[in-house]
Each structure stands twice: as C-alpha cells, then as structure tokens.
C-alpha cells in the first residue's frame, strides 16, 4: 500500500517535472529532479569541465614557443579562460551532489570522458590557430544551443562561456588568416593544420542522431535542444565560407553546396576512428591522462599543506 503510494507520488512528480521543463522553465539545484536527469547532467557537465581542463594541454604545449609577445599573451589568456570555464563547470556539477575530487577521480580512472579532440597532438604553431578557430568554433555552436538548456546553473555557465569562446574563435581565425597572408611555408603549415583538425572537429558533435545513445531523455528533459547532425551542419556551413575567405581548402572531396537544402553536403566521417579514440586508442589519450595524474600527484603535498595550515588557523582562532 505504502509502496504503491510512493510509486504514484513519484509518477506524479515526474509528470509535473516534465510539464514544468516542457514549458521552458529552468530547474534549480534545490528543485526535485528525476535521478536520470541528475545523472545525465553530472555526466555531461563534468565531461564538459574535463574537456576544458584537458584542453589546456595541447594549447599549453605552445606557450613557451609562441612566436610573438602578443601571441603569447593571447594564448596564455585563452588557456586561462579555459581553466576558468573548467572551474565554473565543476561548480555547476557540484550543485548536483558530486564533489570535485570524485569528478577528478572519474577522469583519471577513465570513467568520465572528455572531448575526443584533445587526444590529437598540437604539432605546429598553426595548430594553435586551428584549435581556436575550428575546435572552439565547433564548441560554440554546441554551447550556444546549451544556453537554453533546462538546468539553470549549466545554462548560466554557458551564457558566460560563450562570450569568451567567441573571442577565442576569432583569435584562432586571425592566426590562420595571418599565416595564409604570410610566406609559402606558413601557408603550408596552415593548410596542414586544417587537414589534420577538420575531421576531428566534425566528430566533436558526436555520432549521427540515430546512433546517439543518450539523446531521447536529453531531448525530453530539454537538456539538449538540437540534434548532433543539426549542430554539425550549422558548423560546416559557417566554417566553409570562413575557410574560403582566407584561401584554405577543406579536406573533403565530397563537400559541395546543395542548392535544394541550402546547406553543404559533406563526405562521410570516419566513425571507426571516432569510436577507436573514444575507447582510449587515440594518438594521445594515455599521455593526456598521465599528464593530469602526474600534476595531481605532484601537487598532493601542496594540497595537504594548505589543508593542515587551514586547520591550524581554525584551532588558533576558535
């Protein structure tokens, strides 16, 4: 009898939750939410935070070799922004009842993922341009759509993050544009980076809609508002034109404008590569996590010291 009542109450709550969300209203940390909603968000937000943090590695790889004072300043400030986004997103995830320590452990043990794109190496300075322009560009398309996601703290984080990402994208594009105006070697470097980053950038939007495992709930609960393919198409349409303006070639022989649909048709993405990298067998998966673990372990004594000092102070003044 009691159980039945509880089950009925649960159903009722779920119904009113979905109705509320359906009206486009935001859920806040103290509101009731289905466990599935909570766990979906924890997975998505922490994955997003981890992506910001792991993304500091390929870009950090070029800080000490940035070719001008201004370039160094811009790159360092950008990476700082990414780290700040990481902090902001970790806090948003914490409102759902998971601690930063738990999230870091999930990252380091491979339970939590981060964006696949950061498993690719940044080999030349042009890669810094390509990452800013393509990777941040793809991220923005996704994040703009998330500004209206149903969870309040996540949506507010996205509004703030989008503003900074659009700067990054412009700065990345500027690096590419300058190189395309430069020496033959610079142009070659820029095209090479384009060739290497284009396809992984398209993969950032995830599998085709039919193959996307978490989509149904995410749509019903308004966590997600646009499909993977829809967002990918949007990115392609805007980026192809930007590439043309500065004389870069998109490395896709099947790419062509489709008058009927008003969009670019594109060649098939190498999904074998996508799933292989997700499973941990990309160029740098192991190094990225090893780097994170190393820094974390080397910093353990610092965190312990800070904690010990804090406790001593608390004792002193209590």
């Amino acid at each position: 009898m009691n159980n039945e009542n509880t089950a009925l109450a649960q159903d009722e709550r779920l119904r009113s939750f979905e109705e509320y969300v359906g009206e486009g209203k935001a859920i806040e940390p103290r509101d009731w939410m289905p466990e599935g909603y909570r766990s979906h968000l924890i997975r998505q937000i922490s994955q997003h935070a981890h992506s910001e943090v792991i993304g500091m590695q390929p870009e950090g790889n070029w800080i000490t070799r940035a070719p001008s004072i201004r370039a160094k300043q811009i790159l360092l400030a950008k990476i700082q922004d990414e780290g700040g986004h990481g902090l902001y997103l970790y806090s948003a995830a914490e409102t759902l009842g998971i601690s930063r320590e738990e999230m870091l452990e999930q990252l380091q043990t491979g339970k939590a993922k981060y964006s696949n794109i950061f498993n690719y190496p940044s080999l030349t300075w042009a890669d810094i341009g390509a990452i800013g322009w393509l990777v941040d560009g793809a991220a923005i398309v996704n994040q703009v759509s998330l500004q209206r996601t149903s969870y309040g703290p996540y949506s507010r984080a996205m509004v703030r993050i989008c503003k900074e990402e659009s700067f990054h994208q412009r700065q990345g594009y500027e690096i590419m544009a300058n190189m395309m105006k430069g020496t033959p070697e610079q142009r070659e470097m820029a095209q090479d980076a384009m060739n290497r980053w284009w396809w992984p950038s398209l993969m950032m939007f995830g599998p085709h809609d039919g193959d996307s495992p978490h989509s149904a709930d995410a749509f019903r609960w308004k966590i997600k508002r646009h499909s993977n393919d829809e967002l990918r198409q949007k990115f392609i349409d805007k980026t192809v034109q930007q590439a043309e303006v500065i004389g870069l070639t998109i490395p896709d022989a099947d790419l062509k404008w489709n008058e009927e649909t008003g969009h670019y048709d594109h060649g098939e993405i190498n999904w074998d590569e996508f799933y292989r990298v997700i499973k941990g067998n990309g160029p740098l998966n192991k190094q990225r996590i090893a780097h994170h673990i190393k820094a974390h372990e080397e910093g353990a004594w610092v965190r312990e010291a800070a904690q010990a000092y804090k406790q001593k102070q608390a004792q002193k003044y209590n």
Binding site: R65, A66, P67, K72, L76, G182, W301, R303, Y309
Partner: protein
Amino acid sequence: MTDINQLKYSYSLRLGDNAWILSHRLAEWCSNGPILEEDLALTNLALDLIGRAQGFYKYAAELEGKGKSEDDIAYRRNERQYFNNLIMEMPNGNFADTIARQLYVSVFEYYFFRELKNSKDETFAALAAKTLKEVKYHMAHAADWTIRLGDGTEESHKKMQKALNELWMYTGELFEMNDVDSELMAQGVSVDLSMLKPKWEQHIIDVLKEATLAQPEDIYMQTGSRQGIHTEHLGHILGDMQYLQRAYPDAKW
C-alpha cells in the same frame, strides 16, 4: 643613441628581461599546477609579467631608435645579450621552489618599483606605477603560500626551507649596481639598489618568521647578469622561445 639614451636603453632592457624571462618560467606551470585555481594564479602572474616586459621592450626599442619592434628585442638577441637576474631563469622545480623564487623577486620588485615610480624619466615612472599595483598582488600571493607551506605539514616545511636556502645565493645580485645605475641615479632616473637591501631583507625575515622558517645563511652570492653572464638554463629558454622567429626569420605571425 645619445649617452643618456644608451643608459636608459640598458636599464629598460634589464627590467624587460627580468619580466620576460620570469614570465616564461611561470607560464611553464600551465596544466601543471597542484590545483586548478593555482594553475590559473601562476599563469596570471605570467600574464602581468608579459605585459610589463612588453612595456619596457617597447621603450627600449624607442630609445635605440633603429626602428625595431618589441618583438625584435624579445626574440632576436642571444644569450650574452640578455640582462635578467639569474634568479628569473631558475627552473620551476617543485611548487615550493617556485614560491621561494616568487617571494624573493616580488618583495624586491615591490620596493624597487615603489622607488622607480618617482623617476624623472616619465616613461619609467609610468611603467613603474602600473607595475606596482600588480606586484603587490604577486607579493601577497607569494607570502601567503610561503606561510602556508612553512607552517603546513612537516613535508611542506622541509621543502619550503630547502627552496629558500637554495635560491638565496641568487638574491645578492638583485642589488648589484654598475655604471648604468650610478650615472642614471645621478640624474634621478634610476633607483639606488643599495638602499633597498635592508628593507627587502627585513620584509623577508618577517614573512619567514610567520612561516616558522629560518633565514638562509649567507655563504656565497652568485652574480653575472649585469655582464650578461647567465646560468646554463637561459640558452634552453631562448631555444624554446625563439624557435619560430629564428626558423622563419621572414615570417610575420
């Protein structure tokens, strides 16, 4: 270059190099910090220093009057043409090593820029006023961590003490003066470094006392930077930093 411009050029280069080389080291912390917040704090210090270097290099280029840019000054000189103090190029080591370096340097810079702010050279005075605001934060950051690590755990105390002891021998030359100093001082342009030393030392002693740490012993002070004689580390820093500028001398980025 007139004599006075030559002197100011040397002085500006020295200050620019200090900021530029230390910023390079601090930037190496990116993605390596003990916690994300501290990763951001250290690279934030680096950003301040890059901005400062840019200001002094720009002025140096202007004084030289050969149409060079601040990038030419930063990226196209060799090991013997850099005049940063040796402590700036010391490797990051562990977090305590970096904090010890920050403590010694930022306390020095606090007293230094407080004086340079009154320089009769308007550009130096303006750059110093701007820098002073930043350096106050750098100094507070370094002192806070010195105290936390010194008075934290046994391990952190040991590491902090070791770091302070090892870097001590590079603090002497912060106060070293040559002809550039004496001639610019006579004109009210530069700072009397000998005056700063007691203040610096007292300040360091106060922080170390609160941190339950001991003042390192004065055994030997290494010098060389005023003559452009460095440690072996600088060449590697420049190798990294100047790689693209040297490999593609005609390229603009």
